[in-house]
């Protein structure tokens, strides 16, 4: 590696590489990384990448993200490379993909949807109607949701 490593290797945890440049903050929101935990987090943004030009990288120490947590990242970083690190080595590489439905990940953004009542107990469900082009609709009211709206409405 010619370039000096910006962030040191981690012993155990999860590395999310090839995040679209500038999107790492949204990735952190989606993973509920908000400073309330004590494990070390390293964030690198807008670094050169031979693969995608510029990219963000997120290293989360001492936490192995579940497949369900990782899959939601397909919304904003579908081509991210994900590695589970154990004892400084790559123990697993993970593929991510949006399922048919996002359950309790974000609320419907439509102001008059039944799910806007915070006391209603059924899960928030957003259906992935099509992957390409990405089309996501509330399973209850049917309103289309943009990725931006979903990120604003993360639970």
């Amino acid at each position: 590696m010619n370039e000096m490593r910006r962030v040191s290797a981690i012993c155990n945890g999860t590395v999310i590489d090839h995040i679209p440049s500038g999107s790492a903050v949204q990735v952190m929101r989606m993973l509920h990384i908000d400073g309330s935990h004590s494990n070390p987090i390293s964030l690198v943004m807008n670094v050169p990448s031979s693969k995608v030009g510029r990219k963000d990288v997120l290293k989360i120490e001492d936490r192995e993200l579940s497949q369900e947590e990782l899959d939601r990242l397909a919304l904003i970083a579908p081509s991210a490379s994900i590695a589970i690190i154990r004892n400084y080595g790559v123990a697993e590489k993970r593929q991510i993909g949006l399922g048919a439905e996002l359950v309790n990940i974000a609320k419907c953004s439509f102001f008059n949807c039944i799910t806007q009542n915070p006391n209603e107990p059924l899960p928030h469900r957003l259906q992935v109607v099509s992957q390409d082009p990405l089309e996501i609709r509330c399973a209850y009211c049917g309103r289309a949701q943009s990725v931006g709206e979903i990120i604003e409405s993360l639970i």
Partner: protein, 308 residues
């Protein structure tokens, strides 16, 4: 079977429900007594005002020998802040089928997900109103002999009117050409127009009604809703623009149908009532056989081939 949007029915299923409704006509008229739904209980859950939809579901159930529970928000636990989920748990225990109208969009699907009994959407906010659409299709078939490939003009509040949304979707599936006539602020939402066009439907948008009349098979009027306007003067400006009078129909085809989900305010002048074009009161009656067919279908009750 739940009915939340017209997407819950294939074209074949919709046609087969219209055929069922046709067979149920003698019972709907009260000429034949056949208690197909004896011992069954319908819960009418109207969280928003309704006249025709609630009454026609009630009479449909009663003509078939069933019973009806009516819940209105006033004086019920809903006013005390009960969630829709909790209300539905109670209804699941009290009734065999539920009909729901609610001011919030998605409420009918949510209610259906909360219970085991079948749920029918009788209007959710500005969303869908599929039982109205079925009775509209039934009425159109009565007047035109078919529902495929017709020229239909939808007039009035196409922005908020859930009736217009549901009906335009259904008609597009049956190869209709649609002319959407509304004042600019009440135009059909662009995503619906996009959906209609992408399903191969020919769509024209206009602010003028009269040029569309001569080639129309159906002119479907809707009420411009006063409550949508910030001030009275703005409402008055558009309220009267689509008033259909008998003399406006001189160029119309002889079998052209004037329809309206009712209530009308001033969209259709009473001078039309006595003409052969007036279908809106028959349309209101057609809610009965159509909803009978839906109740039987959702409760899994077979309708005899011939009812005499």
């Amino acid at each position: 079977m739940d009915l939340i949007t017209m997407d819950d029915l294939t074209n074949e299923e919709a046609i087969s429900l219209l055929d069922d409704a046709e067979r149920l006509l003698p019972i709907a008229r009260g000429d034949v007594h056949l208690p197909l739904l004896e011992g069954k209980v319908l819960a009418n859950l109207f969280f928003e005002n309704s006249t025709r939809t609630r009454l026609s579901f009630e009479t449909s159930m009663k003509r078939l020998g069933g019973e009806v529970l009516n819940l209105s928000e006033v004086g019920s636990s809903v006013k005390k802040g009960e969630t829709l989920y909790d209300t539905m748990q109670m209804i699941d225990g009290y009734a065999d089928v539920a009909v729901i109208r609610h001011p919030r969009q998605g409420a009918a699907q949510y209610a259906a997900d909360a219970v085991k009994i079948p749920v029918m959407n009788a209007g959710d906010g500005a969303g869908n109103h599929p039982t109205q659409t079925l009775l509209d299709l039934f009425t159109i078939r009565k007047g035109q002999g078919k529902i495929e490939g017709l020229n239909v003009v939808l007039v009035g509040d196409l922005r908020y009117g859930r009736t217009a949304h549901s009906l335009s979707h259904a008609l597009s599936r049956f190869g209709a050409s649609l002319t959407l006539v509304s004042p600019d602020p009440l135009k059909m939402p662009s995503e619906i127009v996009r959906d209609l066009k992408s399903s191969g439907c020919h769509v024209e948008e206009s602010e003028e009604l009269s040029p569309a009349i001569s080639s129309a098979d159906v002119v479907y009027m809707t009420r411009i809703q006063r409550e949508r306007f910030p001030d009275e003067a703005e409402y008055e400006k558009v309220a009267g623009i689509y008033t259909l009078k008998a003399e406006d129909l001189r160029s119309a085809q002889s079998d052209m149908m004037v329809m309206h989900p009712l209530p009308r305010v001033n969209e259709i002048h009473p001078s039309i009532d006595a003409t052969s074009h007036a279908w809106y009161f028959k349309q209101a009656f057609n809610g009965v056989p159509t909803r009978m067919a839906l109740l039987c279908r959702s409760l899994g009750i077979e309708i005899p081939e011939a009812i005499i």
